[in-house]
């Protein structure tokens, strides 16, 4: 099941790329499409952050992950590179769990 999902994701993501390079620009150049395409990653990533940081099964819990996210915000405000943001969040969460 996981493999099937990986392969469908791969084919789909590739076709999305190829379509962009292949179809006449007019088809997708409407302002509405452009706006939604700009907002879609914002909505999905925000939702993923929420679920990832506060979700646990079908419950919402406050735990070390929230501290990790706060550290990530601080790292981003300091313009840290991606990998520093990610691993400083992990480090912060693991330290909180040690306490």
């Amino acid at each position: 099941m996981t493999w099937a999902a990986i392969l469908v994701t791969a084919v789909g993501c590739y076709l999305l790329k190829l379509t962009g390079l292949s179809v006449p620009a007019k088809v997708l150049e409407r302002p509405l499409v452009q706006r939604i395409a700009d907002l879609l990653p914002v909505a999905l990533l925000s939702a993923l952050i929420g679920v990832q940081v506060l979700g646990e099964g079908s419950r919402l819990v406050l735990d070390a992950r929230l501290v990790g996210l706060a550290v990530a915000v601080a790292a981003l405000l300091l313009r840290a590179p991606f990998i520093v943001v990610v691993f400083s969040a992990a480090l912060a969460a693991s330290l909180v769990r040690l306490l």
Partner: protein, 230 residues
């Protein structure tokens, strides 16, 4: 791009290539975090490497493993990844006239169409310069992203319980880092807050994976409602 263009000088070509490789190194490095996070989400090393090789678009890959980590069905992961992958279509539309590749070259180039290769080619003046920027960035990100994914997955696997090392917290941080540069307007920030609130509200009452997909509706509604602003 109808007039014949002068060939790129050796100097310009080398300079664009150097920039492309630098972006590749910087971006490839976070493939380590993808590899570690993916294994922590329950995928094995081979599945993790397959994602980086075949899907090859970072946000979609992180979304896929993130939905699975939250207990979502693989299909929900696929749908979320595809929705995030739609932005590559728009990149392609913008780049197509500039790169003007046909046939198998276009079929091959498509896999390299990602945030970074777009950023490093969309602003070039000529097709030749855009192609060098696109290929040097795309190929170096591809090589390093996949190598780094493999190393990160191996490291993640040898660590044992990911929670001990806070790798579950790393997933949220990765999404936040991907989101951060997109929060440049009040509308985008509002959409982010509403989407997260909607998803969290749905967590107790829907199957895992559904809350994130439902949040896409916020983007649709906001896109329609802000229509009169141009």
């Amino acid at each position: 791009m109808t007039e014949p263009e002068p060939a790129l000088s050796q100097h310009v070509r080398a300079s664009i290539t150097r920039d492309g490789i630098a972006v590749g190194v910087a971006t490839g490095a976070y493939g380590v975090s993808f590899g570690a996070v993916s294994v922590a989400s329950g995928l094995d090393v081979l599945q993790t490497c397959a994602l980086s090789l075949l899907v090859f678009t970072g946000a979609s890959q992180f979304a896929f493993v993130g939905v699975l980590a939250a207990g979502g069905a693989p299909l929900s992961g696929t749908l979320t990844a595809l929705l995030l992958g739609t932005r590559n279509t728009l990149y392609g539309l913008r780049l197509a006239p500039l790169l003007s590749w046909r046939g198998w070259r276009r079929v091959g180039a498509a896999q390299l169409l990602i945030d970074e290769s777009t950023a490093m080619s969309v602003s070039r003046d000529t097709t030749a310069a855009a192609r060098v920027g696109f290929l040097s960035t795309g190929l170096s990100v591809f090589a390093l992203w996949n190598l780094a994914t493999f190393l990160g997955a191996l490291a993640g696997e040898s660590l044992g319980d990911p929670r001990t090392y806070g790798l579950d917290a790393a997933v949220g941080a990765a999404f936040l880092a991907l989101l951060w540069p997109r929060l440049h307007t009040p509308i985008n920030r509002l959409v982010g807050v509403l989407a997260a609130a909607l998803a969290l509200g749905l967590v107790p009452v829907t199957a895992a994976g559904v809350p994130v997909l439902a949040a896409a509706a916020v983007a649709l509604v906001a896109g329609v409602l802000t229509g009169g602003r141009r």
